[in-house]
Symmetry: C2
Subunit: 103 residues, 2 copies
């Protein structure tokens, strides 16, 4: 990890319960964040397009991070965010697929 | 349907959003109800064993019913409850399996 990069406290998904992940996902804004992140690689928070204020968005990103759904890393002035897809698939098989592929 | 049976207002799952179902499932008591119902056929509410008061349990059953997760039918003095498994699987493929099979 370079001197400019700093990973933000990442929870151990092994200790996260299903109900915590369901609570994190059960909000329209957070579901939208997850859907947008599922489309690509790590992206700066600001590139996730949401119809909420910056502070509301920050709250939702934090909720997702504390539930182990996303990870974040500061790189200079940017905060990159990505979905912990492989780890989530290993801990809760099929959950993210079901949520992302819902009609 | 016999004269003694009365189905309680059942929501149209086609109009239920993923986020509503996730909200319904994102509670430890409701998750426990779903897990117990997944084990068998329709059972009287009282046979679902929960560590909460009767009124709290009723609230949780109602939340699950309004989200389309369970259906209920009164039969004399009994209220039978069952998981709308096939309909949920059709509307949100893989979701219930993922939730039920989580370690």
């Amino acid at each position: 990890m370079g001197a400019q990069q700093q990973e933000i406290d990442q929870v151990d998904l092994g200790g996260v319960e299903m109900v915590t992940v369901l609570q994190a996902l059960s909000d329209p804004v957070r579901l939208e964040i997850v859907r947008q992140l599922a489309c690509g690689d790590a992206m700066p928070c600001g590139q996730v397009r949401l119809d909420v204020t910056k502070s509301t968005a920050s709250h939702h990103f934090k909720t997702l991070r504390l539930a182990g759904v996303i990870a974040q890393q500061d790189e200079g002035t940017r905060r990159n965010t990505w979905l912990r897809r492989d780890e989530l698939d290993a801990r809760f098989p099929g959950l993210l697929d079901a949520v992302l592929h819902a009609g």
